[in-house]
């Protein structure tokens, strides 16, 4: 039978072993700077893992090493328990969706989908059968005779997706596949990819720099920066419990306040702000007393004035700007050293009182404020 099936059964015999494993992988292009530094990563079978990070953070390089287009400078990559270091890309049996789809322009949609099957020397009837199924999966049954240039961006994206899945690969890699689509289509495709992943149960490694996309689709997210995974976690923990300032800033909206640690006790710490006020925060990445830290508070965790009675922290603030957003109100405040301290206010009858120039007080619980490494 096909390569796919044998590797499937090999993988099934050891269901608990990681499907993909990076072991101490390092990559440098020029022999001086490491693009990927000591990457250790385990991906479970059937998992949707997103590599998230700014450009140049090493996420795409990691993906390309997995696909076989880049060679690790040192370390090992294992797929279903066996090293794929010496395996050329065409023998890895990994489906891949490229940034600009890379649909073959001289072939029709059906020919594009048949390509991976025909190079595997499948019988013609089976190819037709599988191509038809793949087209139905992405709702493009009527487009089989079109050339890629005659399709819209979203349709091309679907063909690329179908082509990467049509030969039943054990693993599918996606390199910013939605980058070229407009916002609405992107959101639609995110859900569609998620549903396809759920129904097929393949392992997906997805690269993006869009945090919303990562949060929407992933089982787990690995946040990359400077060639190092900063944090790898499920989306809600990543958002609510960032382990350092980079992750806190990169994922979601974040308010930062500079301060100096006064004391640390029982997982909590007291931090003196630059204007003399003191904040009680959860100690996450702080040193000893006297060292600087950055406090991180999500805008939606902050309550104003009377609503904040009983919270651990209450700070004085002044409204700088009032932004009306229909379903909620955003206020830009001056708090301690920050003058872009954002607060989300759900609509209430008293929303009219928050006008620019007004003095207010901002309150939050110690659990919602994380003391992280200084930036």
């Amino acid at each position: 039978m096909t390569q796919t099936d044998t590797s499937r059964s090999a993988g099934a015999s050891a269901p608990d072993s990681p499907h993909v494993e990076f072991k101490d992988v390092r990559k440098t292009y020029d022999g001086e700077t490491l693009v990927v530094k000591n990457l250790n990563l385990q991906i479970r079978r059937g998992e949707f893992l997103t590599l998230l990070g700014p450009s140049g953070s090493g996420k795409t390089t990691s993906l390309m090493m997995l696909a076989g287009f880049e060679v690790p400078t040192s370390g090992d990559i294992r797929l279903a328990g066996r090293s794929i270091a010496g395996l050329p890309p065409h023998k890895r049996d990994i489906g891949m969706v490229f940034q600009n789809y890379a649909l073959f322009p001289h072939m029709t949609v059906a020919e594009n989908l048949a390509f991976p099957l025909s190079v595997r020397k499948m019988p013609k009837a089976e190819i037709e059968d599988r191509v038809g199924k793949a087209l139905r999966m992405v709702h493009l049954e009527k487009f089989d005779a079109r050339r890629p240039a005659e399709l819209s961006g979203g349709q091309q994206q679907r063909v690329a997706l179908a082509r990467a899945l049509v030969f039943d690969p054990q693993l599918v890699l996606m390199d910013e596949p939605l980058g070229a689509l407009d916002k609405q289509l992107r959101e639609h495709m995110q859900l569609e990819i998620k549903h396809i992943h759920e129904s097929l149960g393949v392992t997906v490694v997805y690269v993006t720099h869009d945090q919303t996309e990562a949060l929407t689709m992933s089982d787990r997210i690995a946040v990359f920066n400077h060639g190092v995974i900063q944090q790898i976690d499920v989306p809600d923990r990543l958002y609510q419990q960032p382990c350092n300032s980079f992750v806190a800033n990169f994922i979601g909206e974040n308010n930062r306040l500079k301060g100096v640690v006064r004391d640390v006790a029982g997982g909590k710490c007291r931090v003196d702000l630059t204007n003399g006020e003191t904040v009680l925060a959860t100690a996450v990445a702080v040193g000893q007393a006297g060292e600087t830290t950055t406090l991180s508070v999500r805008p939606e965790r902050i309550v104003l004035d009377a609503a904040g009675v009983g919270r651990d922290n209450r700070l004085n603030a002044r409204v700088l700007e009032r932004i009306y957003l229909g379903d909620h109100l955003r206020l830009r405040l001056a708090v301690a050293d920050s003058d872009d301290f954002m607060v989300k206010v759900p609509f209430a009858d008293d929303a009219q009182v928050f006008q620019a120039g007004h003095a207010v007080s901002v309150c939050w619980a110690a659990e919602d404020c994380r003391a992280l490494d200084p930036v």
Partner: protein
């Protein structure tokens, strides 16, 4: 309310009429500007490119020698049914105009034209004209036949009649080794005179060999150039284009120096010990091929490079990620996408190669001359412009046919010249 909306609507109609007029005005300006920008080149092409080609095509069937020098004879010959000998009036007007031509010294053109079909007609014509009496001795037919029995031969008059026609297929037929016999049907020329078909075959064969070699050498080069970073590839591209900076004569001359018996290539091969006797590399087919490939290679590399540059490396990656071996990926994904470049390059090299003259003339032997050599020969040596034009026309027609085939196979809109 109603009134205001009514005036509003009619106002809109007037507005739209103004708008159309404005649009026409601006469009007209734009069109004039475009025409003015294109006009200089268009005029240039018409005067220096189209007109000469049309002139050549006309000259390849032109038959004006006899009709201009002997208009009455020509008119009379055209009336004649061509059976046996022409009637007496034809002989009479011919004799009169022959004498006038002898007096005015205008017979040379006619003599040359007749010689193309009957080799000794020049001497016959001049011998007959010299001292021709004012009045016939009996009939003109007898008088002329008495002076030279050629005039009593119906074949002579068949040739005369053909020379009197407004256009002649003579040159076109000759350039494909055909001629008209006395009865006017088209036959092959005697095998000892049949050379042009062979020369055309040789020309196309040599151009094809050069094209194939250029493709074989140029494809990998263009592939490498296209995959290099732009800074390096631009530098190397200048090296590819370097031959364009020297005259074709100098380049060809340089190959003679390099390839001659005591030249550096032969000496190097002998020094290495690969050969004991110097090879004959020049004044034969090898020399012509080497020099032509060298000169024409950039015309292959440029369109290939331009097409390959536009092919994203992602296609090859996608193909291999889908399970294709590098070779299969190349054959099924890369190669088909370079076809427009391959087509353009081959067409360009072939068409240029078919018209080569200087290189075979300088580096080739007698058996390596192409059609252009004979065009030059007829233009400069024998002043037979009809023949030169006919050979050129056949070449042009063959080239256009080839272009048409290419357009059908690949499509002109997909061609990229670089």
């Amino acid at each position: 309310m109603t009134a205001s909306s009514l005036t509003g609507r009619s106002g809109a109609r007037i507005e739209s009429r103004n708008l159309k007029a404005q649009l026409r005005r601006t469009e007209r300006r734009r069109k004039l500007e475009a025409a003015a920008l294109v006009a200089p080149l268009l005029i240039f092409l018409a005067v220096f490119f189209l007109a000469p080609i049309v002139g050549m095509l006309i000259r390849s069937v032109e038959n004006s020698e006899l009709p201009t020098t002997m208009p009455e004879t020509a008119a009379a010959l055209r009336q004649w049914d061509g059976i046996d000998l022409p009637p007496e009036p034809v002989f009479a007007s011919f004799a009169r105009e022959l004498a006038a031509g002898q007096r005015d010294r205008t017979l040379a053109g006619v003599a040359k034209r007749l010689t193309y079909e009957v080799p000794n007609m020049r001497s016959v014509l001049f011998a007959t004209a010299r001292g021709l009496p004012e009045t016939p001795n009996g009939t003109w037919r007898d008088t002329l036949t008495a002076r030279d029995k050629t005039w009593g031969d119906p074949a002579t008059w068949a040739v005369m009649r053909r020379a009197a026609a407004p256009v002649t297929p003579l040159y076109m037929l000759a350039s494909v080794d055909r001629e008209m016999d006395a009865s006017g049907s088209i036959v092959k020329v005697a095998s000892d005179r049949a050379i042009y078909i062979d020369i055309f075959i040789r020309t196309f064969w040599m151009a094809a060999v050069v094209t194939v070699w250029c493709l074989v050498l140029g494809y990998p080069l263009a592939f490498k150039l296209a995959s290099l970073p732009p800074r390096v590839s631009n530098l190397l591209m200048i090296l590819v284009l370097l031959p364009f900076w020297t005259s074709i004569l100098v380049r060809t001359g340089a190959w003679v120096v390099l390839l001659q018996r005591e030249g550096p290539i032969n000496e190097a091969l002998q020094w290495v010990g690969l050969i004991s006797e110097p090879l004959q590399l020049v004044y034969n087919r090898v020399g012509v091929y080497v020099a032509m490939i060298h000169i024409l290679l950039p015309f292959m590399v440029l369109p290939l490079y331009s097409v390959m540059r536009g092919i994203s490396p992602a296609y090859m990656r996608a193909a291999t990620s889908l399970g294709a071996t590098p070779f299969t990926a190349f054959r099924r994904v890369y190669l088909p996408q370079t076809i427009p470049g391959v087509g353009a390059g081959c067409l360009l090299v072939f068409i240029l190669g078919v018209g080569y003259y200087i290189t075979p003339a300088l580096v080739g032997g007698a058996g390596d001359q192409m059609v252009s050599y004979f065009v030059a020969f007829f233009t400069n040596q024998t002043i037979n412009w009809g023949m030169a034009a006919a050979l050129g026309s056949v070449l042009l027609i063959a080239t256009l046919l080839l272009y048409w085939v290419y357009a059908r196979l690949v499509g002109i809109d997909r061609m990229r010249m670089g």
